[in-house]
């Protein structure tokens, strides 16, 4: 290997020898700059004629040591001159962006403005979708059936196993916990009412919405986001294909259609789990359960549940697509928007669920 960088203090001058490269410097780091400083303070004459190589990292080190000016006496071989010249000519002032002082109101203010801008974006996207629907009514040949089908399959059919499993387990849990309480009051048979109303009207839709927001919402945001990053959306536009009709609308429509079906499916699985748990825990026969379910849970509850599924699916897909279109071409923004999309989707679902609960408080409640 070539000689490490080193310096010798000879009478009247500093002599540098060896290879002065970043890789070689690394091994000597805390000590060497200190020695250089020391030498620079005492001697104004430098001899670099025995330096084998000098790269820009080492040149910067020397230039800093010399206090950013040429030393009074310097022996510099021609080969090294250009490297040092480059460093000498460099201006080190970075134009800094003028940052203003922050007032304590700035942060909440910014948050509100950002929220308002997102809201505007969502409303604009919704409006665009309505316009697109109008266009499709007039030009039925443009309807993206293929993409619509693909989305129903991806967001709906492929979600069947996981929603069934989660629904079933939640059903078992609720049934088990409730039956423990009910038995102590001798009110075993009310398990049918409790399970029926809570699952069909409330838990089924919310549970599925949360699963779907995590599963399909994030996927939609990431897909549209990457399409933006890789300029695929621009390529689509260039071909005269509307990105909302071909990309956004099929996702929103697909999830809006698939969600009620998923809610139905997951509620059925939850009821099945609840029934089995009741059978084991309370000896409540399946036949009794089936006989009493329609009486305990009026049909309106099922319609409310399905309606919720429809609305939640629409919200999740719309939010997901909105944040997907907001992705800026970098990985950080992709990650941030995917997170925001899922969090916002779930939050909105819960808010709308509360609105539903208040608006439908007189409907479908069984009168005993």
């Amino acid at each position: 290997m070539s000689a490490p960088p080193s310096l010798q203090l000879e009478p009247g001058k500093v002599v540098l020898t060896g290879t002065w490269t970043l890789a070689a410097l690394q091994a000597q780091l805390p000590a060497l700059p200190r020695d250089l400083e020391f030498a620079a303070r005492n001697t104004p004459a430098w001899d670099l004629s025995q330096v084998e190589r000098l790269d820009s990292a080492a040149a910067i080190l020397l230039w800093r040591t010399w206090g950013e000016s040429w030393p009074a006496q310097l022996t510099l071989p021609e080969a090294l001159r250009e490297t040092l010249n480059r460093v000498a000519k460099l201006s080190v002032e970075v134009p800094t962006s003028t940052e203003k002082a922050r007032s304590p109101w700035e942060i909440p203010g910014r948050l509100v403005l950002a929220g308002a801008s997102e809201l505007r974006g969502v409303i604009a996207l919704f409006g665009q979708l309505l316009l697109d629907l109008g266009h499709l009514l007039r030009h039925p040949a443009d309807v993206p059936w293929r993409e619509f089908g693909a989305n129903v399959y991806k967001a709906g059919a492929l979600a069947l196993p996981v929603t069934a499993m989660v629904g079933f387990l939640i059903g078992v849990t609720i049934s088990y916990l409730s039956s423990l309480q009910l038995r102590s009051f001798g009110a075993d048979i009310f398990i049918v009412n409790i399970l029926g109303v809570s699952i069909i009207r409330e838990l089924g839709p919310v549970l599925v919405a949360i699963l779907v927001a995590g599963r399909s919402g994030s996927a939609m945001t990431a897909q549209i986001g990457v399409m933006r990053v890789t300029e695929e959306l621009d390529a689509l536009s260039t071909m005269g294909i509307s990105r909302t009709i071909r990309v956004v609308l099929p996702k929103v429509a697909g999830l809006t259609v698939a969600m009620p079906l998923l809610v139905l499916w997951a509620s059925a699985a939850a009821l099945l789990g609840g029934m089995l748990a009741a059978l084991l825990q309370l000896d409540l026969s399946l036949a009794y359960f089936f006989d009493n379910l329609p009486r305990a849970v009026p049909l309106a509850n099922l319609l409310i549940g399905l309606g919720k599924g429809l609305v939640f699916g629409f919200i999740i897909a719309l939010i997901a697509c909105h944040f997907g279109l907001r992705v800026k071409p970098n990985t950080e923004s992709l990650a941030a928007n995917t997170t925001t999309s899922v969090v916002t989707g779930i939050t909105l679902v819960i808010i709308f669920d509360a609105v539903f609960a208040i608006m439908t408080r007189h409907i479908g409640v069984p009168n005993l």
Binding site: M1, S2, T21, L22, A23, Q26, L29, R53, L54, D55, S56, A57, I60, L61, R64, A79, L80, E82, T83, R86, V87, L90, S91, V92, E93, V94, P95, S97, V229, K328, P329, N330, T331, E332, S333
Partner: protein, 254 residues
């Protein structure tokens, strides 16, 4: 320089690469010595980028051996690989800048990873590299998405140069640069080569770059290196690709 000169910087022995049914390289041999600037030529799709990726250890060839600085990169542990990789710089065909980091941070990133340079030193180094590739200091705060295609190339080159590599792998360095910038790039690499004794392997379709920079030329065709040698020797080779590549322009340029 005695022991160093005898070991090749880069050595490929019997390298074969297969993607599913497609055989890209078959029994390919190449040896690059210190100080050479090798232009790797070949048709589009002939496997030049793949070969560079294999040199970097990013892709394991189906068969054969690749030695960097005399040792097999993929055989070593993490630390050995890191030590070898710090000695080389790569300019990717698409730039491969970190999209979440600004231009400045992209170039500063490998320097900060060394964990032994102070911020002032890093800042000067970054600005110096930017200056070398003719970027203005005002560009330092831009994000990669805000750069033009040629600017991406130049920033990527600055990043590849950040660690002062001994071996520089360049994938189409001058594609997308205007003729002036290409010429300056040629001069930059030539001067780096002079002062630091760099070894360079570059893929390029640009005759100006090859003519101005390369000392040696390797021709990748028929799945192997059909010719490797001094530019002037390989140019006159009797092979359809070589004849086509050098025919019209060669008298004008060389």
């Amino acid at each position: 320089m005695t022991a160093l000169a005898t070991t090749a910087v880069l050595e490929l022995q019997g390298v074969s690469t297969r993607f599913g049914q497609i055989l890209v390289h078959h029994d390919l041999n190449l040896r690059v010595d210190a100080g050479q600037i090798v232009g790797l030529l070949g048709e589009s799709g002939s496997g030049k980028t793949t070969l560079l990726r294999e040199m970097l250890g990013l892709w394991r060839p189906s068969a054969g051996l690749i030695r960097l600085f005399g040792s097999d990169l993929l055989a070593g542990g993490h630390l050995e690989q890191q030590a070898i990789r710090r000695r080389l710089g790569m300019l990717f065909q698409q730039g491969a800048l970190f999209s979440a980091l600004s231009v400045f941070d992209n170039i500063a990133f490998p320097l900060r990873e060394l964990k032994c340079l102070d911020e002032d030193w890093i800042r000067r180094l970054v600005l110096l590299k930017l200056d070398m590739v003719e970027m203005m200091p005002v560009h330092a705060s831009l994000m990669p998405a805000e750069l033009s295609g040629g600017m991406v190339k130049r920033v990527a080159l600055a990043r590849a140069l950040a660690l002062e590599p001994e071996l520089l792998l360049l994938d189409e360095p001058t594609a997308g640069l205007d003729p002036d910038r290409s010429q300056n790039f040629v001069e930059l690499v030539a001067s780096l080569q002079q002062s630091l004794g760099l070894t360079v392997v570059m893929v390029s379709h640009d005759l100006n770059t090859i003519a101005g920079l390369a000392t040696h030329v390797a021709i990748l065709a028929e799945k192997r290196i059909i010719a490797f040698g001094k530019k002037e020797e390989v140019m006159h080779l009797d092979h359809p690709f070589v004849a086509g590549f050098f025919s019209k322009e060669r008298h004008k340029l060389l």
